[in-house]
Amino acid sequence: MNALEITSASVPNRLTDVSIRLLPGTLAGLIGPNGSGKSTLLQVAAGLLPSSGAVQWAGRLISAVPLMERGRLTSWVPQEVRFEFGFSVRSVVAQGRFAHGDDDAGVDAVLAKFDLTGLATRPVNRLSGGERQRVLLARAFATAASLQLWDEPLAQLDPRHVLEVLAHVRAYTRQGNTMLFSLHDLRVAHCLDVVVVLHEGRLCAAGPPADVLTPELLQTVFGVRVRMTPGLTLELP
């Protein structure tokens, strides 16, 4: 059974007839140029944006899943958030437990995981962009949802935190959880299980990165030429 199955989803002017299927335990990246429909597809997958077509989580049509249960099954992280009120980092992460009806379960562990223990009492409206992003990712982890849909989670992180987050999501999907996130760094995309490519609102390709990320495809979709060179490789010590 698929962890996520989207069947011919269309949203007027934004997404045209997109179908994807992800097996449980898949770590999938969503790539495409600006305005290609990545955020829209993630919102459709999360059940936050109505589309023509069907979205199924683990074989269940999401229209049949009660809202509260959706909060336990899936977690969606937006690209950018505006925090008007100064909630503490900890209380925002604890919001991930809303659908479980508890306040605390696993919150401290998640804070440590995302390097936020030291910031736990800091108001979220006084954080840097990268710190804010880590708070959102931590909140998503706190939900313990088995399907994670993240919109450009790495965009504002420094290199070390990028590697750490990738290590966490890799470990998370090894436990059988499924993850789809949008990104722009093709080098990162290259080390994921599956890459989904969107172009002008249509599905362009989906599959293992070695098959999908061909020079021809990158030339058509992104208009860039690919060249293999000995470059800079970053890894956790």
């Binding site: 919102q43 999360a46 059940g47 936050l48 809202l67 509260m68 249960e69 959706r70 909060g71 336990r72 899936t74 977690s75 969606w76 937006p78 958030v81 505006r82 925090f83 008007e84 009120f85 100064g86 909630f87 503490s88 209380s91 925002v92 919001q95 991930g96 809303f98 659908a99 009492t121 800091r122 108001p123 909140r139 939900t143």
Partner: protein
């Protein structure tokens, strides 16, 4: 970081403050009532004191507390709804909507039909205003849009009220009643008025369990929905409660400005932004604030409540704007 001591101590302190203000409000006035006489008045043992207490001071006290609780909690809800800490019944024009509704039924002479006509008219007026704000400023709107929508609406509803005042040939009594609404005050409030705004208690109770979901909503609607909040339903209840609370307060005390802005703000500065704490605190704190303002007005020789809250609130609002900029 707000210390946990401050958080824990705030609720008992607000309750204590409220109790002191209640006692002061009952005791002070043209006829000063000491503790012994106050007790005698309560037990109907002193005829003069008992008349003053039961017919004048108690209804006024209760109306003041209900109005304060209603306006302050209504402001809190609006701030969470619009994700903007400057949203409040007065600035958004919801109070003016309530007042316009009330003024129209007074001018038509319908207000004397029944006790419920006035609150219902105020609720309808406030609902119209809320709907207009929703259209003018979308959820999570910028401060500029929200405040401009409020300016436009306040002007429009003010025009309605002025039209009613200028075009109806009214008896002196009705004109005086209308003027009362426009200035906002607690003079001559009776047990009828207490009854009129008693539903505030129900609305406040309904607000109680919404604290946690309001926390989530105040950080973003889609985010809240993905975490399991029924956003559409929550928003509907929040809007309905905020509007009804403002309308009930306006129906009995006219337009009283700034309460919904100041009280939630001060409390947020002390205990932080969590609505589970802020909901009960803003109900009690609002009651205390209006009571204090009324007391201030009475001791200053009969300044109307609306004037006092504006005198306190205006500078506070300017300070907030400066702080945000």
């Amino acid at each position: 970081m707000k210390s946990t001591v401050a958080r824990r101590a705030t609720l008992p302190l607000v309750v204590l403050l409220l109790l002191l203000l209640v006692l002061a409000s009952l005791a002070m006035g043209d006829l000063h009532l000491g503790p012994a006489r106050l007790w005698a008045a309560l037990c109907h043992q002193d005829e003069l004191a008992s008349t003053v207490l039961w017919q004048i001071r108690l209804p006024r006290l209760l109306v003041a507390m209900l109005v304060g609780a209603a306006l302050s909690s209504s402001g809190l809800v609006m701030q969470a709804y619009f994700r903007n800490s400057l949203a409040s019944p007065g600035l958004l024009g919801v109070s003016s909507g309530g007042a316009a509704g009330a003024v129209v039924v007074i001018a038509l002479g319908w207000a004397s039909w029944s006790l419920v006509v006035l609150p219902i008219a105020a609720i309808i007026g406030a609902l119209v205003a809320t709907a207009a704000v929703l259209i003018l400023a979308q959820h999570g709107a910028s401060t500029e849009r929200l405040l401009l929508a409020g300016v436009a609406l306040n002007a429009l509803l003010g025009a309605v009220t002025s039209y009613v005042l200028s075009s109806f040939t009214l008896t002196y009594e009705r004109n005086a009643q209308i003027l009362f609404w426009l200035l906002g005050g607690l003079e001559d409030r009776t047990w009828e008025h207490v009854l009129m705004c008693l539903p505030v208690v129900v609305a406040g109770a309904l607000l109680w369990p919404l604290g946690r979901p309001m926390d989530l909503l105040s950080l973003g609607a889609q985010e809240a929905q993905s975490l399991g909040v029924d956003v559409r339903r929550l928003r509907r209840s929040m809007l309905a409660l905020a509007t009804v609370l403002t309308a009930l307060a306006t129906a009995v005390a006219g337009t009283v400005g700034f309460v919904g802005l100041i009280v939630p703000h001060l409390l947020r500065l002390i205990v932080g932004p969590e609505h589970r704490r802020l909901v009960p605190l803003s109900l009690l704190g609002g009651a205390a604030f209006v009571l204090a303002c009324d007391l201030l007005g009475r001791t200053a020789g009969g300044l109307r409540l609306g004037i006092v809250t504006s005198l306190v609130g205006g500078p506070f609002f300017l300070w907030l704007l400066r702080r945000q900029a």
